[in-house]
């Protein structure tokens, strides 16, 4: 758990949360986890869609009253 990173994407509107996730994931290694906190409800679709396309796994999506928390595991390692 200790190596789970957090990304604060609150108040960002889509597609900015996806862009921030993408930038962060590029600096991470396969297997590492990232928790993204956002407020744009669109991120609930976009972040998982981006993960599916680019080979990362969504471990959980938790919708709170104001915030949305998405945990992803960085996948693959086949580059780009």
């Amino acid at each position: 758990m200790s190596d789970r990173q957090t990304l604060d994407a609150r108040r960002l509107l889509c597609p900015m949360p996806v862009i921030r996730v993408q930038e962060r994931v590029e600096t991470m290694n396969p297997g590492e986890e990232l928790e993204v906190i956002c407020t744009d409800p669109g991120a609930a679709n976009d972040v998982p869609a981006w993960c599916r396309i680019n080979g990362h796994r969504v471990l959980s999506v938790e919708q709170g009253a104001e915030e949305l928390r998405i945990v992803i595991r960085v996948g693959g390692g086949e580059g780009s």
Binding site: P15, P41, A49
Partner: protein, 347 residues
């Protein structure tokens, strides 16, 4: 041994770039998508702001297209660099504030930098000759290729047969015979090709791919620049132009008045950056002041905000005026009746 060639495709989220990508994938080329976020893109934003739009499931069309095609998608933030394109377009603007030709050349240039950095061979776009009056004409096609620096590594699969052969065609990376010769504003050939590929449910944007083609949006942008006497802008500025009712009673300030709950929530996030007003004696909207309030302006601003509250027909309405640092006070005003808000104040 033949190496598999690699192409990057400019994915807008619309049908044309989707088809262009598919055509090249069918020829055995490895394709990845790239999508540039300028801040003005139609994707996202407003959908997330207005409550009525929250109900509909929303998707990012570029991501949707990539997933349908089974390709990777790289979304690139070009907000900063795009300012130069919008503020000083060499080829001018289209019908509104859309610098389409410069914009296309810019995006292809960014894609060209990307393929050089990632070892890809060429770039594809969904451009069709004659589809758009400004950026997609037979005489502008070479302009985009030349000014972007991509030269003949830029392939437009949907109209390639009407253009001179590009490097990927000459080298045999793709078969020119299996490319297309679409032209003009008709959408029929694209729709037929979509059917052939079994593509359904694609987005059909009415105007262009961004807010700059929208007349009302462009007017607000020009108003903002005029009022500030400077064309600098930040992402927040251009987002706020998509939200609320914009009323400019004086050259030095305007009010951004929320029209519904979703917008109230969105504007709340800006209360530590702008002076804000809200009615306290009656239910009413939240409004931000963009600009500065001079002598007597506070009462005017409050009277306008009161007009959009439930107290519009009452003689007195209490309005809270809050400073960005949180300090606030209440003032009582008579709402400005709707007839007394001149048409010209609405931006």
């Amino acid at each position: 041994m033949t190496t598999q060639r690699k192409a990057v495709s400019l994915i807008s989220g619309g049908l044309d770039s989707m088809l262009a990508t598919k055509v090249i994938m069918e020829q055995g080329v490895h394709v990845e998508g790239i999508n540039f976020f300028t801040g003005f893109c139609v994707e996202g934003h407003t959908h997330a702001i207005r409550k009525k739009d929250r109900a509909k499931p929303k998707r990012n069309n570029a991501l949707w297209v990539a997933e349908q095609l089974g390709i990777k998608l790289h979304i690139v933030d070009v907000i900063e660099e795009y300012k130069e394109v919008l503020l000083n377009p060499k080829h001018g603007y289209g019908a509104n504030m859309n610098p389409c030709l410069d914009c296309k050349a810019f995006m292809v240039r960014k894609a060209h930098e990307w393929i050089e950095a990632h070892g890809f061979d060429f770039i594809i776009t969904g451009e069709v000759i004659g589809q758009r009056p400004m950026s997609q004409r037979k005489d502008t096609m070479p302009v985009v290729a030349r000014e972007s620096g991509a030269g003949d590594r830029l392939l437009r699969p949907l109209c390639a047969k009407l253009l001179p052969p590009t490097l990927p065609e000459r080298e045999g990376w793709v078969d020119r015979e299996r490319l297309y010769d679409f032209s003009g504003r008709t959408r029929k050939p694209q729709m037929a090709l979509a059917r052939k590929f079994g593509i359904e449910g694609y987005a059909q944007p009415a105007g262009g791919c961004c807010f700059l083609t929208d007349a009302a949006y462009s007017a607000k942008l020009v108003d903002l620049w005029q009022a500030r006497g400077d064309r600098e802008y930040e992402l927040d500025d251009i987002m706020l132009l998509k939200v609320g009712r914009h009323v400019r009673p004086r050259p030095h300030f305007k009010l951004i008045v929320a029209r519904e709950e979703g917008e109230v929530r969105f504007l709340e996030g800006y209360r530590n950056r702008f002076v804000s007003l809200r009615t306290t004696s009656h239910p009413g909207p939240l409004a931000l002041v963009d600009g500065r309030l001079e002598e007597g302006d506070e009462a005017l601003a409050a009277a306008i905000v009161a007009r959009y509250s439930k107290g519009v027909r009452d003689s007195r309405v209490t309005v809270e005026v809050r400073q960005p640092d949180g300090e606030s006070r209440e003032i009582e005003v008579e709402p400005l009746s709707p007839e007394r808000i001149p048409e010209g104040w609405h931006v």
